[in-house]
């Protein structure tokens, strides 16, 4: 059973790279389950492991793909004499080609038995003895019943021996294929084939041919296996690497083809924040006295009311107003900020968003109702033209929205504060500052250029509670995390 357990551990590793969180305790459970159900029934195995290892619908999906990829050694018994041995230095195969008149000790086993026997021979080649022709076929029969797993396990074992999970680049595939073949006892097999051919004789030749065919077939299988390992290990870890990189890259440098990846990352980050912040405890120290509860819990003190219970107070989620510059230079940042905020709908239900380049417009409904991409495109179309005018934006804000700002509102402004030398109207921002709980200015430019040229950060900064450089996903995550920490 131990080799089975090793395989399982390997599988768990694969699951982890595929974003299924598996704890050691669950791995142990899986082993226990494996001992109970065995490996004969693939569907049963899959169901059981799925129950033990993956614990939500997304994980189940990832599990299913990984399982199918990992345990997909299913074609071993397929026709093996179809492959022409390409690098075969020994004799040609004329001897065994005319299968029809090949002698008959084996005819009883039938065609597929032959293939199986070859497969078995390839594995156990070290101990193979030519005299035991029947015995081999017996092995073939044996393999026919419990074959796939057996062969797969042998292969996985060899793979483990040569550490195939360390594979990183595509070009290493050939190398690992050879290594695995060797670890499975390729040399013994080659020697035996050589011996058989030297001995000559019809049955020997026949067997040698079968062995060679099986060997080539096995090679195919191993190559396949290595390829899958590559996809399982290298591809996923490559993805993780890429994600880490994407998190740090400047958002304006992102290319369109990366948007999908980034979106995924944003969702992941948002999910993490949600799970951290939705577990916040409620405050019980204030609010209305809960008489029923108090009486109930004070029964144990002889009805003396000294352990008071309060009606739990609903936690006030922060009201967030998010004003985004959507003019060309900054639009990418706005896109991801909005993406982030809307992914947090569960813990930030009251997000209102506004877009502007000169005139301010509310886009809250747009983002709630349509898909992010569409909403973004529409926003760009409607508000993205024209030169940036922060003064106008603030004036609009005062006349339409300022009345909704209260002491629980956090106002986030995302923009580079480049005002084309217009009137910054920072006094309006001051008003907002006085009314709102917090005003946060996120600027994608580095601090050194905040006062260069037409940038007005110098005037705006004193009217903000917080100013931050924000130009990568990591920054975004930090800002949003802080927002939740302080405000919730």
């Amino acid at each position: 059973m131990t080799e089975l357990h090793d395989t399982l551990v390997e599988f768990v590793q694969v699951l982890r790279t595929a974003d299924v969180k598996v704890s050691p305790a669950e791995t142990l459970d899986a082993m226990e389950a494996l001992d109970i159900i065995g490996i004969e029934n693939r569907v049963l195995l899959k169901n059981s492991l799925s129950m033990v290892l993956s614990k939500n619908p997304e994980e189940k999906e990832a599990f299913n793909t990984s399982f199918d990829r990992f345990f997909s050694f299913n074609k071993f018994s397929s026709e093996n004499n179809a492959t022409e041995p390409d690098e075969d230095t020994h004799q040609d195969d004329g001897e065994f080609d005319p299968e029809s008149d090949a002698p008959n000790q084996q005819s009883g086993q039938g065609g597929q038995g032959g293939g199986q026997g070859g497969g078995g021979g390839a594995e156990a080649s070290g101990e193979l003895d030519f005299e035991q022709l029947e015995a081999q076929s017996e092995l073939g029969k044996l393999l026919l019943s419990g074959d796939r797993m057996e062969v797969m396990i042998k292969m996985a074992e060899a793979g483990r021996q040569v550490e195939v999970n360390q594979i990183v680049v595509f070009t290493q595939k050939g190398l690992y294929t050879r290594k695995i073949m060797e670890a499975m006892g390729l040399k013994g097999l080659q020697d035996e084939v050589g011996e058989l051919q030297e001995e000559g004789g019809r049955p020997q030749m026949h067997l040698a041919g079968q062995l060679k065919g099986a060997r080539d077939h096995l090679r195919e299988q191993v190559r396949d296996y290595v390829e899958k390992q590559f996809f399982l290990h290298a591809d996923e870890s490559g993805k993780q690497l890429r994600e880490e990189l994407l998190k740090k890259v400047k958002l304006s440098n992102l290319e369109k083809r990366n948007f999908k990846d980034v979106q995924e990352i944003v969702f992941k980050m948002a999910k993490k924040l949600v799970s951290i912040h939705s577990k916040r405890r409620k405050t019980f120290k204030r609010g209305q006295l809960d008489i029923r509860k108090t009486l109930r819990s004070n029964m144990q003190y002889d009805g003396m009311l000294f352990d008071l219970k309060w009606k739990s107070q609903k936690v006030d989620r922060p009201k967030v107003m998010c004003i985004c510059d959507v003019s060309g230079s900054v639009s990418n940042y706005s896109r991801f900020l909005l993406m982030f905020l809307y992914s947090l709908a569960e813990i930030l239900p009251k997000v209102r968003s506004f877009a502007f380049s000169s005139d301010l417009g509310e886009v809250t409904r747009l983002f709630q109702q349509s898909k992010l991409e569409d909403a973004m495109a529409k926003t760009m179309r409607d508000y993205g033209n024209g030169s940036t005018d922060y003064g106008q934006m603030l004036a609009d804000f005062r006349s339409h929205i300022l009345k909704d700002v209260d002491s629980k509102t956090t106002v986030i402004i995302l923009g580079d504060a480049r005002n084309n030398y217009g009137d910054p109207k920072s006094e309006i921002l001051r008003e907002v500052y006085d009314k709102a709980q917090r005003v946060i200015w996120l600027n994608p430019e580095p601090k050194s250029s905040w006062t260069v040229g037409d940038a007005e950060m110098k005037k705006y900064a004193p009217c903000c509670h917080q100013t931050e450089v924000c130009n990568s996903l990591v920054h975004l995550e930090r800002v949003v995390g802080n927002l939740l920490r302080v405000a919730v």
């Binding site: 704890s23 109970i36 049963l44 169901n47 129950m51 033990v52 614990k55 939500n56 819990s297």
Partner: protein, 316 residues
């Protein structure tokens, strides 16, 4: 684990068969979950949309192995005094009153405070013994002599604190009561535990880690037909087929609440009551409120009713 009737749990096909004879048609996954739960001695966390038979699974299992089903319905504010145990305050008070009279006898012969206290100590903590303990579902389940099925229903409705409270029970089948000590399940008689969740919030990893996780989706048409047949035996096969096809199509639509299996069954019963042999648009229109619970949804479906019904009829 050795509970009575455990031969009924010996393999997956057996479980399916027994479930079926009790009118609960289940997929292989569900049977596997019950099988593993029993053999690994692990709780099962069942998730899935409302009305797919999560609670029913626990109840049917209890019925199958002929054990009592102890149910703990979770809700916000549920705490240990409702879930695990509570002291019988009233009884404690009453006994103190009664014993006050006899206090003289007990303390007879003791001189000085120290001696009296010593004497009292020798009686032990009788007021905090099992006599005065009111067991709640979790404790009851542990102490059940013949083992039992414990159903912790809608665990997602409870608070996070309560989830943590469950951990000890779920991983070690034991509960700690400060005044008494640790209560463990009778060896070999551990309760079969089922937890259900409607996914209104994410269950913590700590809890998930301790459970087998079973996700019950809506059944496919074939399975659903079997379920309807098992639950409403006198339904004509043709109607059954049409009805299931209709429901299956509704599930594809963008509805606030899609009809679950329980609604399918209700609808089947309704149609039987109305003596209908097959679906027709008018009939569907009249009975739509059995399967759809929001006016919005009813309106959405009304507009496409003709087409959906016709397709469902054609499906037979």
């Amino acid at each position: 684990m050795a509970i009575k009737n455990d031969d009924k749990l010996k393999d997956i096909e057996a479980i399916r068969g027994h479930f079926e004879s009790l009118g609960y048609i289940c997929s292989v996954e569900i049977a596997t979950a019950v099988f593993l739960a029993y053999h690994l001695e692990k709780p099962v966390l069942i998730e899935g949309p409302p009305g797919v038979g999560k609670t029913e699974l626990a109840k049917t299992t209890a019925e199958m192995v002929d054990l009592p089903c102890i149910r703990l319905q979770c809700y916000e504010g549920l705490d240990e005094s409702k879930a695990i145990y509570e002291w019988k305050y009233g009884k404690q008070l009453l006994y103190t009153q009664v014993l006050k009279e006899t206090l003289g006898e007990i303390l007879d012969g003791a001189t000085g405070l120290a001696e009296s206290v010593d004497k009292l100590h020798s009686f032990g903590d009788i007021f905090f013994s099992e006599e005065f303990l009111e067991p709640r579902p979790l404790l009851k389940a542990l102490k059940a002599e013949e083992s039992c099925v414990l159903l912790i229903d809608e665990v997602d409705k409870s608070d996070h604190e309560f989830e943590s409270l469950l951990l000890e029970m779920l991983s070690d089948y034991q509960l700690s009561i400060p005044e008494i000590g640790t209560v463990k399940a009778i060896p070999g008689k551990k309760p079969l535990v089922f937890l259900t969740s409607n996914n209104t919030r994410e269950i913590s990893d700590a809890l998930k880690r301790r459970c087998l996780h079973l996700y019950i989706p809506f059944p496919n048409a074939e399975l659903e037909r079997q379920i309807v047949r098992a639950r409403v035996p006198d339904i004509p096969p043709k109607l059954n087929q049409q009805l299931v096809a209709f429901i299956q199509e509704l599930r594809e639509m963008d509805l606030k609440k899609v009809p679950a299996i329980s609604e399918t069954i209700d609808w089947a019963r309704t149609l039987i009551l109305l003596h209908s042999e097959s679906l027709d648009p008018e009939l569907v229109r009249q009975t739509l409120n059995v399967i759809l619970k929001f006016q919005e949804d009813v309106e959405t479906v009304q507009s496409e009713l003709q087409g959906v019904t016709n397709r469902a009829i054609k499906a037979t």
